[in-house]
């Protein structure tokens, strides 16, 4: 995964000690809280799915072998919890794509999507485009029929919705990061105390969310 390359050995080891469900939980929380779509956690999703499948196999087996129903349902609940986080994680991402499909497809954000998400995004846009054409755009005078530009006179795509990176988010960092500039002029800085909770503008901590040093809660 591209975003794992920047870790020091120490951090890498602590990452290895963290279970996949913990990592999935973190990915899920971050994805739910971030205003923009984050890097798809390809190998984590892959591993989680394998573990869930394995567990499904185990459950079938122990059911067949007449194990204590208590054990069966405990295994089932454990799997359901992982399954729920995985589903909710993927769902959150698709819902972001539904909202910002054009913006995502026009920017670097595109590379954050999985292959399946990319084709979902393409189909979403095709559907949306024909819906807008049929309902409104084809009925407007020529020169006003674009779904990206208000009219031919617009110099840029002035209709495309984007996620608002200025929004405030709640976050926590596990380790000390040093001073973070909070605005462009760097007049305001914050020194995050590890483990304490802060409300900050997403934009000012965006790089730290992307490299996993700050978690959104």
């Amino acid at each position: 995964m591209a975003n794992e390359s920047g870790f020091s050995m120490e951090e890498f080891e602590s990452l290895m000690a963290t279970s996949d469900v913990e990592l999935l939980k973190r990915a899920w929380r971050n994805e739910k809280s971030a205003p923009e779509i984050l890097q798809f956690q390809a190998s984590l999703v892959q591993r989680s799915r394998e573990q869930i499948q394995l567990m499904e196999g185990t459950i079938e087996e122990i059911t067949r072998n007449g194990f204590d129903p208590l054990i069966v349902s405990v295994y089932q609940m454990d799997m359901d919890r992982a399954q729920y986080m995985l589903r909710s994680y993927l769902r959150t991402r698709l819902q972001k794509i539904e909202k910002d499909m054009i913006h995502i497809s026009k920017t670097d954000l595109w590379n954050r999507l999985s292959k399946e998400e990319q084709s979902f995004s393409k189909r979403c846009y095709e559907n949306m485009k024909s819906y807008l054409d049929e309902s409104v755009l084809s009925k407007l005078p020529s020169g006003y029929q674009s779904d990206l530009k208000q009219s031919n006179a617009s110099e840029e795509d002035d209709m495309v919705p984007e996620s608002n990176l200025e929004t405030f988010v709640f976050c926590k960092s596990e380790s000390s990061i040093g001073a973070i500039p909070l605005d462009d002029s760097a007049d305001e800085i914050v020194d995050l105390v590890a483990g304490d909770l802060y409300v900050l503008r997403y934009k000012s901590i965006k790089p730290f969310v992307e490299n996993g040093k700050i978690d959104l809660v």
Partner: protein, 187 residues
Amino acid sequence: MASYYDIDDILAEEEFIPVVFQKAATGVGLLDPSSETNNIEQGAKVELPFWLAHELHTRQAVVMSIPSCFNQMTKKEIQADPGSVDLRNRCQYFYELGCKLAPMVSDRTIGSFLLYAFKNRYKEVLSKAHTSTFIASTKPLTLLTKEETHLCDAAQSSMAAFKKWRIGGSRFERPAVLGKKRKPSDE
């Protein structure tokens, strides 16, 4: 910039602004109720929605003046008793419109007036939006602008969600889009 599709932004731009035409314009007499031709004369005084006034202003076709919700009287009332001024009645989109107007008009105090109003109304009314006394009384809500209402709704709906959770009950809620469902026992 607000999104092209933002409903509140669209409605805020519908607020009317008094303008004086610096240029004449043909074929648009509808804008000037006093005009007998289909044209607008130079010097005509009319009220235009912000979306039109603003574009014409940047092209020097009109000069905008400040709508009454930002006049001295409102300022004085807000100063005297910020929490009880009925801003909703004066302009639902008081803050949004004010922010759009501030950089464009000659009165350079609008920005600080907006902050003064928000700060003091926040202190007196809005910051109490989570409290049960606030939730029980509906009076302050009738005085609030759209943005202020959004703030209070945000507080109250999350408080309500918490209380619902605390009491317990089914976690499977019928989505709003499906409308309210009658229970068969009510039939």
